[in-house]
């Protein structure tokens, strides 16, 4: 028993070592934490960073043309006279919140449907798979655009539309994870020793099938934020004052020849986050995948 424990500890140590050896993953983790910290500050005490009016952009119509970075405006301003630095800090909260909303709604719905589908099997499973097929037959960006358009052009509906587009992916993934876990010998062994079906499901299958699903889901946060901002960029949001990174970028688009910073800073803010999440994900996958450990 002692040996067993030592072996497990050895494994954990190796996992940590593998993760720490991946410097880039560590950097990714730190960046993600910075974004989360910013969102939390904006939520609970924006005054800490000298920001008021967290939910709206503050235009300055006396000087609407973008100004280059300066002491007063570290990232410059964008049309119409909006300070980019404070706007980006505000926007990160909004983007992070709605991206998490998309992931949470889409993933929970998808995971539940996937598990049920894999467990019940038969006609239900077949139907669910056909429905996901149909969702996959439309490019996600366009489907989200159409659904969102019908629901109404607001941030909330936009994230709802994305969740509606995303759940089939998670349903598929969860289903395949559950099915492959079902095949494992220890599940067979539990079955052979007469453990009840529900017990097998909750005690043996789900605890082993779900963790990789959740990791996958959280790693999609970066991509979702990118797509969320892309929808906003192409003009999904009707409200002209919402601090959202894609929308902020689109404000500067007409000035790209004279004021490149107006599109670069908000764009980079998104990219850095997505990059950090991906790096973190790669590090975690290294830890999970036994083949990549040696």
């Amino acid at each position: 028993m002692n040996e067993e424990r030592a072996k497990r500890w050895d494994n954990t140590k190796l996992s940590i070592r593998v993760f720490l050896a991946n410097r880039t993953a560590l950097v990714g983790l730190i960046i993600v934490l910075i974004y989360v910290a910013d969102a939390l500050i904006m939520q609970f005490d924006p005054g800490l960073l000298g920001i008021t009016q967290v939910n709206t952009l503050v235009p300055n119509f006396t000087n609407p043309v973008p100004l280059p970075p300066s002491w007063a405006h570290p990232f410059g301003t964008t049309f119409p006279g909006v300070d980019l630095y404070t706007s980006i800090l505000k926007a990160i909260r909004i983007d992070l919140f709605y991206s998490i909303l998309v992931v949470a709604v889409g993933a929970v719905a998808g995971a539940v449907i996937g598990v049920v589908s894999a467990t019940v099997g038969g006609l239900l499973d077949e139907t669910v798979m056909r429905i996901t097929d149909i969702f996959f037959s439309i490019p996600y960006l366009i489907l989200a655009l159409a659904i969102g358009f019908i629901l109404g052009r607001s941030l909330m509906y936009m994230s709802l539309a994305l969740a509606l587009v995303w759940w089939p992916l998670y349903a598929r993934y969860t289903r395949s994870q559950t099915l492959s876990t079902k095949e494992f010998t220890y599940v067979e062994a539990a079955k052979a020793s007469g453990v009840s079906r529900t017990r097998i499901m909750f005690r043996h299958i789900l605890p082993n099938a779900l963790p990789p699903v959740f990791i996958q889901i959280s790693l999609d946060l970066g991509s979702i934020m990118v797509i969320f901002s892309t929808l906003a960029f192409i003009g999904f949001i009707a409200n002209a004052k919402v601090p959202e990174l894609g929308y902020l970028t689109s404000l500067g688009l007409n000035y790209v020849q004279t004021a490149p910073w107006a599109v670069i800073f908000p764009g980079v803010a998104i990219t850095v986050f997505a990059l950090a999440v991906n790096l973190l994900g790669d590090g975690l996958r290294d830890v999970i995948d036994p083949r990549r450990r040696s």
Partner: protein, 351 residues
């Protein structure tokens, strides 16, 4: 075993998918009531009493006062007969089918050029990166593709505009052709070229090589943007797929036969490494189509995507629904082709 039998089976599987696709679009048109389908099918040019009469005619035609599954049947019938309703946007107002005929060729042109770029760049760099793993160039490629992968497509476009269009001034950043090149041409009227509506091809048909070249240069930035947005994923997938294949026993056997590294990489490994990439090509097409919406908007490139965003901004439900259906159809056909190509390339699939 037989490729024909497989093809026919795959074609039959298309029917439920197409029914599902149309059903989604139909449901979307109906969740907020009958007025949506009326908005789709009422010609924007009608006013007053004529409009009221046309509305009654539409209610009768689509059986809008009957249960919804009956309506679906009549709507599907109209779609199959090429009646896709009307669109009313700032860039085009009229029947959807005409809008598609005008805009789709440009989108296809853009997507095909981007796809070729993606294939050439992706395969070359993906294989190179795996073969020279951990070298300086591999690290550079990985950092590059990782960053591209995380970038929103609009940022890639804007970055290219700033570098190539604004600072270096080597490429035009908007439109399909310089207006001065085409003023007064008989085959180019009101921003529409005839007969194919793809200006490069039309210019060549009319022997206007200068115009064709100009249009080709205009196509470069959108195509490169679209390609860069998607190629990063291909490079990453191909690199890991290639590394996995290089660990396989058959590669060891190939080496033990005394084959040169080049043959081992470019024939034995690459052929296998590309198989998973082909299955992902459906996703690539989805990415291309979605990307086209953004790229066409940034570069004012008159394709389906540009039309779609215009429809969004102008709250034109007819345009949105038609574009959704059209993009769905393209993707379904693309997936069909991918499956057939895969069956053709991988001998194990033809069971």
């Amino acid at each position: 075993m037989n490729l024909w039998a497989y093809t026919i089976r795959r074609l039959l599987l298309l029917i439920p998918t197409l029914l599902g696709l149309t059903l989604i679009v139909f449901i979307l048109s109906h969740v907020s009531g009958n007025n949506v389908i009326l908005a789709e099918y009422l010609s924007p040019k009608l006013t007053g009493a004529a409009r009221a009469i046309a509305t009654q005619a539409l209610i009768a035609r689509f059986h809008l006062n009957q249960p919804i599954y009956v309506q679906y049947f009549y709507w599907l019938n109209a779609i199959l007969h090429g009646n896709w309703g009307y669109t009313n946007t700032a860039i085009y107002s009229g029947p959807v089918t005409t809008a598609i005929a005008l805009f789709l060729p440009n989108t296809l042109m853009l997507s095909v050029v981007a796809a070729i770029l993606i294939w050439i760049i992706g395969v070359r760099f993906g294989v190179y990166s795996a073969v020279n793993r951990d070298s300086v160039s591999d690290h550079a490629l990985r950092v590059g593709s990782f960053t591209l992968y995380a970038m929103p497509i609009y940022l890639i476009g804007v970055a290219l505009i700033i570098v190539l269009g604004v600072y270096l001034k080597v490429l035009p950043i908007s439109g399909v052709v310089s207006p001065t090149m085409v003023s007064g041409l008989s085959w180019y009227v009101n921003g529409i070229s005839y007969p194919t509506h793809i200006i490069i091809i039309d210019a060549m048909l009319h022997g206007a090589w200068g115009v064709a070249l100009n249009a080709a240069i205009h196509l470069l930035l959108p195509a490169i943007t679209l390609a860069l947005a998607i190629v990063a994923g291909l490079i990453r997938i191909l690199r890991s797929s290639m590394l996995e294949v290089l660990d396989q026993d058959y590669i060891r056997l190939a080496r033990s036969k005394g084959l040169s590294e080049r043959i081992v990489y470019n024939l034995h490994a690459r052929k296998n490494a590309l198989l998973p990439v082909i299955t992902l090509f459906g996703l690539t097409v989805a990415g291309l189509l979605g990307g086209a919406v953004v790229v066409e908007t940034i570069f004012n490139y008159p394709g389906i995507g540009y039309w779609t965003t215009q429809a969004l901004l102008d709250s034109d439900v007819g345009g949105i629904m038609a574009a959704t259906l059209l993009f769905g159809l393209i993707l379904v056909v693309a997936n069909l082709l991918v499956d057939l190509i895969y069956a053709f390339v991988d001998p194990r699939i033809r069971y």
